[in-house]
Symmetry: C2
Subunit: 283 residues, 2 copies
């Protein structure tokens, strides 16, 4: 595995690979890799000849009161894990090269970025789309793999790619969960042992919704009420939102008609740790 830190070196490497006819797959991450990330790398490996994993804790996607400074980092461990999963090039740029003094350009996807997470984290997706546009121009991929865990991020990136004509195929890989159902996340390390147990409220509430839908519930309001009741029975849980929305536009649904693909998603703070989870359900 080759480790590249310089933007221009990465661009030259990508040009050389493309000239050799190699298909480049990129997996953008913020590091502190877990099994979820590794599944993205393995998916990219199947879809391309050369996998570029990027590690960059992107300040532009953190709000002023969010966890940028304490976001977990472990580059040595990430390096081993990325290589073990099949990464060929690990691209680890530094912040000063990514956002030099006088940096002023942002990519903004309207509408789909404004709801759900965007409602609670107003500049988050602008930061995501900006850094993804940069990483695409730097790594020049044929295919890019994102995780379904960040469902809205995937929808926003898809919209950007379509609108700005990035010639990149977007693949969204399934959520990887702990054996007890907790969606894997770098932020799970923030949880105390007791919070770790209460964090199951998220995946359990999604299971509850799935079961109620399977047995015929069509009203989103009723489904959300049941999920809310389950979550609030956990003393450390504070709900930011529970949403049942169209999976592409992320516009809220009132009823689940036959043929709809719904994104059931939620954000819940467990103590001071904000967790998200979701399920894609086709009726």
């Amino acid at each position: 595995m080759n480790i590249i830190n310089s933007i221009s070196e990465m661009q030259h490497a990508a040009d050389a690979l493309r000239c050799e006819g190699k298909r480049i797959g990129v997996v953008p991450t913020m590091g502190y890799l877990h099994e979820g990330h590794l599944s993205l790398i393995r998916t990219a490996k199947k879809k391309s000849d050369v996998v570029v994993t990027t590690i960059f804790v992107n300040p532009a996607q953190f709000g002023p009161n969010e966890d940028l400074s304490r976001y977990p980092r472990d580059l040595d461990r990430d390096t081993r894990l990325a290589e073990s999963a099949g990464t060929n090039i690990l691209f680890v740029p530094n912040e000063k090269e990514m956002y030099p003094e006088g940096y002023h350009t942002y990519v903004n996807v309207e509408k789909v970025s404004e709801v759900l997470e965007g409602n609670f984290r107003p500049t988050h997706f602008r930061g995501v789309t900006t850094v993804v546009a940069k990483l695409f121009n730097i790594t020049k991929p044929h295919v890019a793999v994102f995780g379904q865990k960040d469902a809205q991020q995937a929808a926003v990136v898809r919209q950007m790619v379509k609108d700005l004509n990035f010639d990149v195929e977007i693949i969204v890989a399934p959520i990887v969960r702990e054996p007890d159902g907790l969606a894997m996340s770098s932020r799970n390390v923030y949880l105390s042992p007791d919070e770790r147990k209460q964090a199951l409220a998220l995946s359990q509430s999604l299971d509850l919704a799935r079961k109620r839908i399977a047995t015929g519930e069509k009203k989103c309001e009723a489904l959300i009420a049941e999920m809310r009741e389950h979550i609030t029975s956990h003393p450390s849980a504070r709900i930011d939102y529970i949403s049942i929305a169209d999976a592409t536009t992320l516009q809220e649904l009132t009823a689940l008609d036959h043929g709809t693909t719904a994104l059931v998603s939620l954000a819940v703070r467990i103590g001071s740790t904000r967790l998200i989870d979701n399920a894609l359900i086709t009726i």
Copy 2:
């Protein structure tokens, strides 16, 4: 010369050329080509193996009360002229493919886009950078040529390219003028014979500034006052702005220190036609 209308066809053609080791030069235009555009195409020809000229009257860069509907168009003439200047591929997309229903993504360059033209045309540069980002992703150029006539556009595009890491060399080619000094512009066709004469106020005022600077004037306020006086002596002229600014940041200067490169620029309405002109002056 090959004429391409489809975005995906253009992307495949660009990929094929890149695989053959060909260097692609792009000249983005809104058509109604004049000698200024042709000079850009000739410059691109010198800097690349294959010149892609794009023609697209970009609605996103026109304000609601601007001249989008009456902007001059003549594709047959443009086709002949583009080919005569050395274009290899003429890319002419249609509006519905460039901005399909549900289009929601914009590239915004802050600061440098907010002054001068941006002050009078608040969404103009957002439209420019968005379409240029799209055209770069579609034509996949090694080099792109823009005109110094649109000096702020060149500065904004340079900032976008740097910030978003587009791997594209930006070349800015000099203004081409009519024999009497009027900067060439597709919008010059709007001028009546009398307005055509009064339109010389712009280039004459730049000549005036150049001479006064050469003979030692360093105060921007004094230079602007003299330019203003010259222009307002023309009855049909209405000044939007006269600016002497740092050529890169476009921040206004108060005095011209040795070593400074200043952009002297102005926008003047002659009757109902809004014209711009500028001069880059190194002290």
